[in-house]
């Protein structure tokens, strides 16, 4: 019997957050702590001719002013964690990313001078007095423009600004031949615009060096403390890993942007020893706009060919992916192995080719943002499907059904082998669409739409049936694809003598509610009260190891690691119980927190067994005392959640203003541990996906200046911009992990964006405007302009 799994248990962590007791990095104070401010380049591309710090160093309260020249040459910069090679086998271009620039600034916001002072205000005042003389150079911000000959070079050793030129799938000629023979080809040029993650807590770092123990402690707003420690120690600073403690305390949202190892982390750690002072740096919001890794930024062309019945015969996708000026930790993986591999979608397309050029530009780094590559792939596929249906005058839902991969559970039926490397684990795609249509009231809607077509407020409906690869990821597979790390997870289940349980997980919660979901698993599997379980995460000194939280992996990978440790605890506990009950392990049942001899009322409780394990006076011979197990879980495959998202919009023909009237999402994320939390994850993902479609987008001018770098200028959805969401789910368990879970963090963001744009195109098309595309974000001006032809 389960007491907790599958129930909407209220979150354990909420109490500290609703009472103002959360502890985020900027809330941390250490005695004697001083403050850092980083003077950043106002230009996208320039040579630094000279830096005059004389006046600034006279400001009372200034402790130190550090430039790139002050940092030892041996510290080359932060590394990239994934290698993607050119299709001809050449290695990707990997220019160094120094902690502070030495000669050339390559994006607005590139760090130039570190000022350390008694307060942040003093550090800022002093930074204002530093004169940096720049020789300003031409810059390029657009990925397609950067790849043209004659474009200003970001790095001299990356000709054509190409980091890599990569390809996946069937041979291009085969795809071209299939397209040439197609009854109809839908083709579109897409821009999947750059968006800015904008976690509400900006990044921050507190670094301290302890001379007594020769040990560093760093608090950083990160999604994966252990990976930061590994990268920083082994590849940046060359300091021993066991002498560094990395803590990711309460973290105010990440959405991918806090996965990566940023320069400020290593810079502060280095400076804390250099100055022998604890130092805090917290990013201003405008600084965050310039230094947090951004997301998306693809310029693509795609062609989808159909036969006369609407069966997809081939897909060719060609993409220029903006990587920014420097390679962020996972940047090369996002437009390749997290994007190209998803081009099969839910469909039986027999020929697929994906061609991706990773391009350097004079902008800050682009890396994983909620969904990371999968939203871009989904956007491309789902836009082509809805547009194809309009062009061929077919129903978009029928077109999808024709092409869906038939149901397979991954147990009785094998997983589905795609043309683009992945093998899907399990899927049953029609039911999510069926349920979504039922919720929409599809037939009625089409009638309403027809009735409104000639009015001033026209209606449209857009679909998106997506698949994603998450539960990232089998280490051997990603290793073969270029990852420089394993993507397993660790968990330690430590049973205390009194039967209370401390669980140490390498996953990191920054809003996902691990302290609750993981505790539900432990309490249920061990048959103990939820209150007897505590989940500990985010501290490299207490947690053995961790690969962190991203790619919707925490439950599928981290949760599975916990299950492995629970199994070990119960296996050993049974030996102790058998001894106490003078029985054999095979004769015992474990349920409701006690071992019972089968067919009798003789039992011993979990608490008695754990006490015995720590006070082993009467104990099985040869068995070690204690009840404490660690496990590492390396998944057998990615997991493949899927779903059907439907948007209904109303467009004011006079102004072009789009109103999102309804949003329906039916997702299948496998088994669900806490429905309330899963729903919350879906809601949040939807808001970000809808945000990209309707509101968000980073804008650069032709000199590489981000021109909407503040909350006054960068539009994000606010409460009054969104409807309440209508969501439901189906359950197709994952066949290869012990919980049968697939992951829910990114689903909402992956599926929703194309549904909204498709709805706008549908509204326009059905009202007589043959508009194929409205560029995102679909502002009233853009919609209106599209309507003018």
């Amino acid at each position: 019997m389960t007491n907790y799994i599958g129930k909407s248990v209220k979150r354990v962590e909420d109490k500290r957050f609703i009472t103002g007791q959360g502890k985020y990095t900027d809330d941390i104070k250490i005695p004697g702590m001083v403050h850092a401010y980083i003077l950043r380049s106002p230009y996208a591309h320039a040579h630094v001719k000279s830096i005059d710090t004389a006046e600034a160093s006279k400001v009372p309260g200034v402790i130190s002013i550090i430039t790139g020249a002050d940092i030892p040459e041996a510290i080359a910069g932060v590394p990239c964690g994934w290698q993607v090679d050119f299709k001809n086998g050449d290695t990707m271009k990997e220019p160094p990313h120094p902690l502070l620039v030495r000669k050339t600034v390559r994006h607005v916001g590139d760090g130039v001078v570190l000022v350390v002072a008694e307060s942040k205000a003093i550090a800022k005042d002093a930074a204002d007095m530093i004169d940096v003389d720049y020789d300003v150079l031409d810059a390029v911000a657009d990925p397609k423009a950067a790849a043209q000959s004659g474009a200003p070079l970001v790095h001299p050793d990356a000709p054509g600004n190409l980091c890599f030129d990569w390809e996946l799938g069937n041979p291009k000629e085969e795809v071209a031949a299939a397209l040439a023979g197609a009854h109809h080809v839908t083709e579109l040029d897409f821009v999947n615009q750059r968006v800015i993650p904008n976690a509400m807590e900006t990044r921050g770092v507190v670094a301290q060096y302890d001379t007594a123990y020769d040990k560093y402690t760093i608090y950083t707003s990160t999604q994966n403390p252990h990976l930061i420690r590994l990268l920083m120690c082994a590849f940046v600073l060359g300091i021993p890993e066991h002498k560094v403690r990395v803590v990711g305390p309460d973290v105010g949202g990440g959405f991918g942007s806090k996965i990566f190892h940023y320069t400020e982390e290593a810079l502060l750690v280095w400076a804390s020893k250099h100055l022998n002072l604890p130092i805090k740096w917290s990013s201003d919001r405008s600084e965050a706009f310039l230094t947090d890794a951004h997301g998306r930024d693809h310029a693509s062309n795609a062609k989808m060919g159909f036969d006369k019945d609407g069966n997809i015969v081939a897909l060719q996708a060609t993409t220029y992916a903006n990587l920014g000026a420097y390679l962020s930790t996972f940047a090369p993986a996002v437009p390749t192995y997290l994007h190209g591999t998803l081009m099969q979608g839910l469909y039986t397309t027999p020929k697929v080719n994906v061609d991706v050029k990773g391009v350097f530009t004079h902008t800050n780094a682009v890396d994983a943002y909620r969904g990371a590559g999968r939203p871009e792939a989904t956007y491309l596929l789902e836009r082509l499907l809805d547009l194809g249906a309009l062009e061929m005058d077919m129903d978009p839902t029928e077109l999808r059904r024709k092409n869906f991969i038939p149901a397979f559970d991954g147990v009785e039926q094998e997983g589905y082998q795609t043309q683009v490397a992945l093998q899907y684990d399990s899927g049953n795609y029609e039911p999510v669409l069926d349920r979504a249509l039922e919720m929409v009231g599809y037939e009625n809607f089409r009638k309403e739409q027809a009735a409104a077509a000639s009015s001033n407020k026209i209606l449209g409906i857009g679909f998106s049936t997506y698949i994603e690869a998450c539960g990232i990821a089998p280490s051997a597979v990603v290793g073969a694809l270029g990852a420089r790390a394993g993507l397993f997870e660790s968990a330690q289940v430590r049973v205390q003598p009194t039967g209370k349980v401390s669980v140490y997980t390498g996953s990191h919660s920054h809003g996902q509610g691990h302290e609750t979901t993981f505790a539900q698993i432990v309490a249920d599997r061990m048959g103990i009260p939820l209150d007897d379980v505590e989940i500990i995460h985010g501290d490299s000194d207490s947690v053995a190891f961790g690969m962190g939280t991203y790619g919707s992996r925490s439950l599928a990978v981290g949760g599975s690691a916990i299950v492995k440790s629970i199994d070990k605890v119960l296996e050993k506990g049974a030996k102790v119980a058998a001894h106490l009950l003078e029985s054999s392990v095979d004769d015992l049942d474990y349920a409701d927190g006690k071992w019972t001899v089968k067919g009798t009322d003789k039992s011993v409780s979990f608490g008695d067994v754990s006490l015995t394990a720590y006070v082993p006076h009467n104990y099985p011979e040869g068995l070690e005392p204690g009840l404490d197990f660690s496990s590492f879980y390396d998944p057998a495959n990615f997991t493949y959640p899927f779903g059907a998202h439907v948007a209904i919009v109303e467009i004011d023909k006079e102004t072009g203003a789009v109103k999102l009237k309804r949003f329906i999402a039916v997702d299948d994320v496998g088994n669900v541990i806490n429905p309330m939390i899963v729903d919350g994850q879906i809601h949040g993902g939807l808001a970000q996906g809808i945000g990209q479609a309707m509101y968000e987008g980073a804008l650069f001018d032709d000199t590489g200046q981000l021109i909407n770098g503040s909350y006054m200028d960068y539009c994000m959805p606010r409460a009054d911009a969104l409807p309440s969401f209508e969501i439901d789910r189906t359950v197709t368990p994952c066949p290869h992990n012990p919980l049968g879970v697939k992951g829910a963090g990114e689903a909402g963001c992956i599926g929703s964006t194309p549904a909204v744009v498709n709805a706008v195109v549908d509204a326009l098309w059905k009202a007589g405007y043959k508009v194929k595309d409205v560029p995102m974000p679909m502002t009233p001006e853009r919609v209106w302009t599209a309507m003018q032809g």
Binding site: F17, T19, M200, G680
Partner: protein
């Protein structure tokens, strides 16, 4: 030049010396260690720093600390009474109105002001009232539910 100020915060008279340019949010966080009030932006756009200043929801990044001299301030730390959660705090927990928790204090303070002036807001009114507060995690769906939950409880109806 430093200025002496005295502010009643959560029912306690607090003294401090601040620079003229210092913001109230800085006074709360740095001088009083009331770190439940958060800083999410630098343009008074996000609402994470919302507190009550003389009873009205106010973004504490738009007020200089010296302007709060003699005023009454309530922060998220002052919302629970005698260990009892404020109905809004309970509502946010009950309806999963928070994920990362960073915007939550500001959301609760804004919502408390709304419910004081409008005890029975419609969904539309709630969404309009939250217009100055950004949440990046929840899509606002459950924040709206949380406030509705609290409104019901505060009006004596069991939710």
């Amino acid at each position: 030049m430093k200025h002496k100020i005295s502010v009643n915060i959560n029912g306690k008279q607090c003294e401090g010396e601040v620079e003229g340019r210092e913001l109230l949010v800085n006074f709360l966080r740095e001088h009083q260690s009331l770190t439940g009030t958060h800083i999410g932006c630098d343009t008074s756009s996000c609402g994470a720093c919302t507190i009550h200043l003389n009873g009205a929801a106010t973004k504490s990044c738009t007020v200089l600390a010296v302007q709060a001299d003699g005023a009454e301030v309530t922060t998220i730390e002052g919302m629970a009474t005698n260990g009892e959660l404020h109905p809004l705090q309970a509502g946010f927990k009950e309806e999963h109105g928070l994920q990362c928790g960073f915007c939550t204090p500001g959301m609760i303070m804004t919502a408390a002001d709304l419910l004081k002036n409008n005890p029975n807001p419609s969904e539309h009114e709630i969404r309009e009232a939250l217009e100055g507060n950004i949440c990046r995690c929840t899509g606002y769906h459950n924040i709206v539910r949380s406030i509705q939950h609290a409104a019901k409880n505060m009006n004596g109806v069991t939710a």
